[in-house]
Structures are given as structure tokens and as C-alpha cells.
């Protein structure tokens, strides 16, 4: 029986293109000759590298250790020799190279000893610690370190949602994984439920994957789990965490919060599968399933070791056909262009699409916005995207923020439906980065101002303390003996002292002058700048005082 499906705003149904790759069973990639393992494959801090060129490593050996709270371990995908630790091209929207460990496989594939974790005897929440070394990160695309998500703290988790919606066109890796390995996925989900202390598991799968839903239902029945599989309509972006949460529970995750704040934790089905392997087999995250599809000879889902060059994956899928103009990493709605197919497979990559102009035509030139509102109808965040566009375009950033720019999830629905073909999401990305940069600059300026004020205050205090100290000494000496009274040396010192006190007083008055109390931040900045220049120009004055 299907669970209740709650309505969600917006969304759309682009051509699915699932059939290209979902008919074939998952292909296990043979051992590659060389692996390129980036140290940053997850959200948060990059792992700290533990090996250097020349080291020999074993399969499953930690080569990068988590650095900080939100970070994940990185492991050697096979046994071999470290050739280099150096920046290499990676699959990232920025196109910038990142630090990677290059490993030459020795072909033996010798593994470190792997120990299953006895999770049943661990209290809820205790699994996070041993899991931290396993390198798990969310495979839906966000790659948030899983061990952190399994110990959320705060609100008690009632519901574990397993995300098998896979709403982006072309991608079918979760579909195949659910069809072929449903039991392992649900075993992983049960470990998650236990660790989170959740009461129930809800699995959400789009209705274009009936076989996957069937397999998952079978697994739930077989394992006798407190789990329910709900088939949801195929409507992008149903696989967004907040969207699936609302579809399955009717609950709206508040803006600026995450689902755990309302007692729900969401994991991708592939992450549950990786967790099963990590806990029951003791195997860290060494591989993942990736769809290689589009304009290739034999679109496939391939289970490959992390670090496999993407060009190898394309070869396994029969290779690019004639006319391929590039490759998309991720789905066509939220993915990005890959600059270099030498880049390796990483934890976040769920799909590689070979593009040609027939499948992905060039966008027509943008026309003026006519405020037709198609974007607003499609927006899953109930925003008015055209308003955001007008404000972003005019660099009216405060207005863009007021129109809730930061509630935009960049799903691309608005750009997809725009009759004027305006690259709306690009405008939002631009506006967001501008706002973040402006906020940072403002914070930096504020920090500098505070530091400067504190410096002035400290100097003033030191002067006064010094003056007071000297004054005290002088008066002590005066009291100590009359001899001092007609001592010309003492009189001279007292004169200097008095002058210093007078200057200090004057300085204090200047600092606290009434007309400088209600300055605008702009005026204050100018004054501070002048003050700083003055001091820098005449350090001698400081010494005299």
C-alpha cells in the first residue's frame, strides 16, 4: 500500500531520458592502472593528507584524515604506490585543480584488515565515532559527511527518510541500485534508524521507477522493518531534501533550517548502501555507482572505485559517439560542465552525460522578461523568480535579499520554463555571491574598526596609567622629604608630569568629544582612516608623549 503523498508547490516534468541507461545491470569496473583521489570529496574541510610520493598503500587504507568536525576520511581505492600528491583537475564547477593523491595500482588489490562494526550493541548516536574513519558522504550530490548527520543532536529524530526519488533526468544509478541491492540498502537504513533513534523509515521513490519501488517493498517485508515505501509523482525537484520531506510528511522545513530541526533526517539510498558496507563488512567508502549516459555507445550504470578517471568510465560505456561536445557532471538541471575528462570519479558524482547539440541544443539568446510568471508557477520555493531577476540584474542586492533570494535552491525550474530564455539561475548565483562578498567585506571592515578603537582605548589607558603611576611616585617623594621640594631635578620632573597629565586629559576629551558620538559608520570609517594615516605618518609624536 502506498503511503500518503502530500502536495508541494511548483516543479515540472522535463523529458526523463531514463530508459537509455536503466535497462542494463550495474557494470563493475575492472581495476584501473591509476587512481587520482582528491582529498576534498565532501562538504566541509578537505581531508589532511597522510601519505607522500613513494609510499605504498593498501586498499582501504586511510590516506586523508578528517580535518575538523565537518570533514570525511579519504581512502586508497586499491593497493599500490603513491606517485604524487599534487593538484590535479577535478570535477568541480569552478574548474580549478585540487590536491589529489595519485596512486599507481599494483594489481594485487591487497586490502587492509576490515572489521565489521557491532552496531546492535552500540547505543544510538555511538556509531558516529567509528564511522568517522569510514569516509561516508551523502551520495545524492551534497556529499555532507554522513557520520555528522547520524549524530545530529538537538531535536530528537522521529523519522528517517530514504531518498530514492532520483528526480533529475538521465540519472538512473539509484534506480539500478534499488532494483539490484534493495536488501543491503534497507539493512543500511535500519542501522541509520537505530543510530538516530528514529521510530520509522519512509522511502520516497518517483513513479517512473516501479521496479525499484517493488524491490524496496520486498526488502522491507523480508527484513520486517518499520518502513514504508511511498511512490511519489515524477515531478522535478521531488528529490530535493525539503521537497521529499514535504511530499512524504506534509511538513515544511523552515527557511534557514534543516530537516533535523523538525525531527527528520534524510539520506540518499546509495548512502544507506555505503553505510551497510561500512558497518556490516567494515569496508570504507571506496566506490560508488555512477550513470554514464547521453551520447555514448552503451549507456550504463557503473560501479567504480573513487578516483577512477572519468575518461575510463566513458570508455566502459562504449565511449563517446561522434559529435560529443562536452560532458555534464550530475543531471542536466543542476549539473555542471566538466572541463577535463581526466578528472576522477568522486563521492558526489552520480552521473556523467556526454552531450551533443541534438540532446542539448544551444540556448537561444535571451529576450526581455515579460513578467509572464511561468517561473513563479514552476518555483518549488514559492518565490517570484522574475522579481529576483529584476533586482539581481539591477544589482539591487538588498531588494533581492528581501525577496528571499537565499531561499532559492538553484533547481533550475525557472530557467527551464522561461519563454525569454533568461539564464535566471546564473543571475541568482551571481547575486548570492555578491551579497556574501559584501557581507564579508562589511564584517572585515567592522572588525578592523573595532580593533582600531580598541587600540586607541588601550593606548589612552596606558598613558593614563603611566601618568598616574608617575604622579603617585612624585607625590610620595614630595611627602617623603622636604629636600625634594627644592630639588630642581624633582621640580623639572613634576612639571613634565603635570604636562603629561594635562595632555592625557585633553586627549581624553578629544576622544570623547560630543560631536563625534553620533557618527554614521561612513564618517567613522573616514575618521578612522585619517587617524590611522596620521599615526602612521608621525610615530615620533607617540614617543614624545
Amino acid at each position: 500500500m502506498n503511503g500518503k503523498v502530500y502536495p508541494i508547490p511548483g516543479g515540472l516534468h522535463p523529458a526523463e531520458h531514463k530508459a537509455e541507461s536503466n535497462a542494463r545491470t550495474i557494470l563493475v569496473a575492472p581495476l584501473a592502472e591509476r587512481y587520482i583521489v582528491p582529498l576534498r570529496q565532501h562538504l566541509g574541510q578537505a581531508a589532511r593528507v597522510l601519505v607522500q610520493a613513494g609510499d605504498t598503500v593498501l586498499k582501504g587504507q586511510i590516506i586523508g584524515t578528517p580535518d575538523g568536525h565537518i570533514s570525511a576520511a579519504v581512502h586508497a581505492p586499491t593497493s599500490g604506490r603513491v606517485l604524487a600528491v599534487e593538484p590535479r583537475p577535478v570535477a568541480h564547477p569552478s574548474g580549478l585543480p585540487d590536491l589529489c593523491v595519485v596512486i599507481e595500482a599494483d594489481g594485487a588489490d591487497t586490502a587492509v584488515e576490515m572489521h565489521p562494526i557491532d552496531w546492535r550493541n552500540l547505543a544510538p548516536g555511538e556509531l558516529a565515532k567509528p564511522l568517522a574513519a569510514m569516509g561516508l558522504a551523502g551520495q545524492g550530490g551534497a556529499v555532507f559527511p554522513s557520520h555528522v548527520k547520524l549524530a545530529p543532536g538537538g531535536t530528537a529524530i522521529e523519522t528517517l527518510i530514504l531518498n530514492g526519488a532520483e528526480c533529475e533526468p538521465w540519472i538512473t544509478c539509484d534506480d539500478r541500485l534499488m532494483r539490484e541491492r534493495a536488501t543491503a540498502i534497507m539493512q543500511g537504513a535500519e542501522i541509520m534508524r537505530h543510530t538516530l533513534g528514529a521510530k520509522r523509515i519512509l522511502v520516497g521513490i518517483e513513479d517512473n521507477k516501479p521496479q525499484a519501488a517493488e524491490a524496496m517493498r520486498g526488502a522491507c517485508a523480508q527484513l520486517k522493518l518499520a518502513a514504508r515505501v511511498t511512490v511519489v509523482p515524477t515531478r522535478y525537484p521531488s528529490g530535493g531534501a525539503k521537497q521529499l520531506t514535504q511530499l512524504l510528511t506534509g511538513l515544511e522545513t523552515p527557511s534557514g533550517k534543516i530537516s533535523t530541526d523538525i525531527g527528520i533526517q534524510v539520506f540518499n539510498v546509495a548512502t544507506a548502501y555505503a553505510l551497510y558496507r561500512a558497518v556490516e563488512l567494515g569496508e570504507p567508502m571506496l566506490s560508488r555507482v555512477v550513470s554514464v549516459t547521453g551520447h555514448v555507445a552503451e549507456p550504463h550504470n557503473i560501479e567504480a572505485r573513487l578516483g577512477t578517471p572519468i575518461v575510463d568510465l566513458i570508455r566502459l560505456a562504449g565511449g563517446d559517439l561522434a559529435g560529443v561536445t562536452g560532458h555534464i557532471i550530475g543531471g542536466p538541471m543542476m549539473g555542471f560542465d566538466l572541463d577535463d575528462t581526466a578528472a576522477p570519479l568522486v563521492k558526489s558524482v552520480n552521473c556523467v552525460i556526454a552531450r551533443n547539440p541534438a540532446l542539448f541544443p544551444r540556448h537561444p539568446p535571451a529576450m526581455p522578461c515579460t513578467r509572464c510568471g511561468q517561473c513563479a508557477l514552476a518555483c518549488p520555493a514559492s518565490l517570484q523568480p522574475f522579481e529576483l531577476y529584476w533586482h539581481a540584474k539591477a544589482k539591487n542586492l538588498d531588494k533581492a535579499r528581501a525577496y528571499k533570494l537565499f531561499d532559492c535552491i538553484e533547481c533550475g525550474c525557472c530557467s527551464h520554463v522561461c519563454p525569454s530564455h533568461i539564464p535566471l539561475v546564473d543571475y541568482y548565483r551571481f547575486a548570492k555571491s555578491e551579497i556574501v562578498a559584501a557581507d564579508r567585506a562589511k564584517q572585515a571592515a567592522e572588525g578592523a574598526r573595532q580593533r582600531h578603537e580598541f587600540q586607541l582605548l588601550r593606548q589612552e589607558r596606558e598613558k593614563q596609567e603611566k601618568a598616574a603611576r608617575l604622579g603617585k611616585k612624585a607625590s610620595e617623594r614630595l611627602e617623603a622629604g622636604a629636600v625634594a621640594a627644592d630639588d630642581p631635578e624633582a621640580a623639572r620632573k613634576k612639571a613634565i608630569l603635570d604636562a603629561a597629565i594635562a595632555r592625557a586629559k585633553q586627549a581624553k576629551e578629544t576622544v570623547q568629544a560630543k560631536n563625534t558620538e553620533t557618527l554614521t559608520p561612513e564618517q567613522q570609517r573616514q575618521i578612522d582612516a585619517i587617524e590611522a594615516r596620521r599615526q602612521a605618518a608621525s610615530p615620533a609624536t607617540e614617543h614624545e608623549a
Binding site: P9, P254, P332, A381, K399, H416, C418
Partner: protein, 343 residues
């Protein structure tokens, strides 16, 4: 630039949208030609040529590329709406003046497509009815009543040469005119309604043209080119306002059904008040916009100096649309009630 989304909706462009809206105007235009003669096709072509000419001219003056703007179809839609609003067979310069105001003043002096505050066709119409009120009331009589229905060559003569046919030979007062004349002259509504021009509900011929506009409008809603909010609110407000007046004094006020089908109500509800550039865009804003425009339409018809009020009520609400939008932003996902955008 990340570039995503890499796929855009197919068969989706400004031009295609404009073409679909013009297609939705075809039933009404055909009915118009059936009842009032083939002259409408001449006015359509003339307005279209004027629109393209004026737009090309002003684009050159503004130093803007010609092709994209001229081929987006928006100026042809404006021309079509103006041709339907101006009495068919009016002299050529009347259309020219109207199109000048619509394209040059209302559209391009504000910055072109998407930037204009006021509905271009209605600015053109408003300029004409203020400047040339007599010409603007000389509507052709519907076929069943006309002594004489000008054919295409007559129409050409009338429009471009002046001809030797006096307007009286082929024109007649519209129902809204005869209603205004009757109620102003102290007569009752029934006096006006007993005229042959009244037809069944709201004007011989014209009432069927209005039904065809309604039909085309429903096509627009079904194709998600417009939402139901503005037409529904506009027509409901017309019916409600007219209904209240009619209940109070049926002798001097027309019934709601009459107001719904007379004059430009249906054309306005689906094709003019819904112009996305100049109307409200939020769901609640659209309801307020349509409702106030409908209310003002009946008020202007009843108490104003002009027989119809659609154009002026839409223009007035155009000026208020940005304000209404600012205060009617919908709740954003994940925000508490009242957590609207813009605050």
C-alpha cells in the same frame, strides 16, 4: 557560469507565446468579420504594418538591434488588440495616431518590451478616444441591421481615400452608446434595450463576438498562458458591481449579464487586463487588480463621460500594479505566515 539547467522547455519562446495569444483572438475576429464585414482584416493589416514600421523606427532611434524585437510578435499582438478596439473602417490616420501612441509612447519611451508601465494598446485607444471621440463612436452596424455592409474595396475606400459614403450609411450607435444616451436623457434602460441594436443580451452581433473572446480566453487559461485570477476577478467584479446597482435601481441600470457581454468586457478580461508586463503578477495581486479593474469599468460606464470603461480602468490599475504586487507577495516556502518576500 555553471550553465545549468542544460535543457530548456521545448516550443517555448516569447514569439510562440504571442502567436498563441493571437491564435486565441481568431474566433473573436472571425465573428467580428461575420457581423461587421471584412473591413476588420484591412484594419488588422494596416495596424500591423504601422506597428512594425513604428517599432523599426524607434528601435533605430534608440540604437537597438532590430531583428529580435521586431520578430518577437509583441507589436503584432498590440496592433491586433488596437484594431479590435478602434471602430472598423476608421480613417487611416486614426489608426496611425493610435499605433504611434501604443508603440512609440507607451512601449518604447518606457524601454521596450517588458519595461512598459501601461498597456500599449490601451494607451493608443485612450489617446484616440480623448482626442477623436466622434470617430471613436462610429462603429459599423452589425450585418442583420445594416442597410449596407461595406465589402473589402469599399472598406479600402473608406479607410484610405475617404470615399463618398457618409458614415451614417453604415454605422450605428453601440449598445453602450444607446444606454448612455437613454439614461442621460432621463429614459429608462428598457427604452435603450428596446432598440434593435440591443440584440439578445448586449448588442446584436457584438454579444456573440464577446462569447468568442471568452472562448479564446479559456484556451489561454487551458494552455497556461494566463492564470484564471485576473479574468475571474475582473468579470466577477463587473457582475457584482452591476448587480448591486441593478438591484438598487433596475430602471436606470443595466443587468449584470449585459455588462459582462457589452463593449470590451470580455476582450479586456482575457486579453488586455491579463497583459503580464503591465498587470499584477502575484496570485492575490491579480485578484485585487482584476477586481478593482472590473469595479471601475462599471463605475466609468455608469457615471463616467465615456460609454465604455475597460480601457481607463485597466490603465488606472496598470499604474497601481507595482504597488499591489509589493503588498501581495505570496508566502515563501519555509517561512511562517506573513513571511512574505519584499519585507
Amino acid at each position: 557560469m555553471i550553465g545549468s539547467p542544460f535543457v530548456l522547455k521545448e516550443h517555448n519562446s516569447v514569439r510562440f507565446t504571442m502567436i498563441k495569444v493571437m491564435a486565441a483572438l481568431i474566433p473573436g475576429t472571425l465573428a467580428h468579420a461575420w457581423f461587421f464585414g471584412p473591413g476588420i482584416w484591412l484594419s488588422l493589416i494596416w495596424c500591423g504594418l504601422l506597428g512594425i514600421g513604428f517599432e523599426a523606427m524607434i528601435l533605430v532611434v534608440r540604437g537597438r538591434p532590430l531583428q529580435a524585437a521586431l520578430t518577437d510578435g509583441s507589436v503584432l499582438l498590440t496592433a491586433w488588440l488596437l484594431a479590435l478596439s478602434v471602430p472598423t473602417l476608421a480613417p487611416w490616420w486614426l489608426y496611425m495616431t493610435g499605433m504611434f501612441f501604443a508603440v512609440v509612447v507607451a512601449k518604447h519611451l518606457y524601454g521596450g518590451l517588458g519595461q512598459n508601465l501601461f498597456n500599449p494598446a490601451m494607451v493608443g485607444y485612450g489617446a484616440l478616444i480623448i482626442s477623436f471621440p466622434v470617430y471613436m463612436t462610429q462603429w459599423a452596424a452589425p450585418a442583420p441591421l445594416a442597410n449596407y455592409l461595406p465589402n473589402l474595396s469599399d472598406a479600402f475606400d473608406l479607410m484610405f481615400i475617404g470615399g463618398n459614403i457618409t458614415p451614417d450609411a453604415y454605422t450605428s450607435a453601440t449598445v453602450l452608446d444607446s444606454l448612455k444616451t437613454a439614461t442621460r436623457g432621463g429614459h429608462t434602460v428598457m427604452d435603450a434595450f428596446s432598440q434593435p441594436i440591443h440584440g439578445l443580451i448586449a448588442g446584436k452581433g457584438m454579444e456573440l463576438v464577446a462569447m468568442m473572446y471568452l472562448f479564446g480566453g479559456l484556451f489561454l487559461i487551458a494552455n497556461r498562458l494566463i492564470t484564471w485570477h485576473i479574468p475571474a476577478a475582473f468579470l466577477a467584479a463587473i457582475a457584482l458591481t452591476a448587480g448591486v446597482l441593478w438591484q438598487i435601481d433596475p430602471a436606470h441600470h443595466a443587468d449584470p449579464l449585459f455588462h459582462l457581454l457589452a463593449g470590451g468586457a470580455m476582450l479586456g478580461a482575457f486579453f488586455i487586463a491579463t497583459d503580464p508586463v503591465t498587470a499584477c503578477t502575484t496570485p492575490r495581486g491579480k485578484l485585487i487588480f482584476g477586481g478593482l479593474a472590473g469595479f471601475l469599468t462599471v463605475i466609468i460606464r455608469t457615471y463616467g463621460g465615456y460609454p465604455d470603461g475597460v480601457a481607463f480602468s485597466v490603465l488606472i490599475l496598470n499604474s497601481a500594479a507595482p504597488l499591489i504586487d509589493a503588498f501581495s507577495q505570496p508566502r515563501v516556502f519555509g517561512h511562517a505566515k506573513g513571511g512574505r518576500a519584499g519585507r
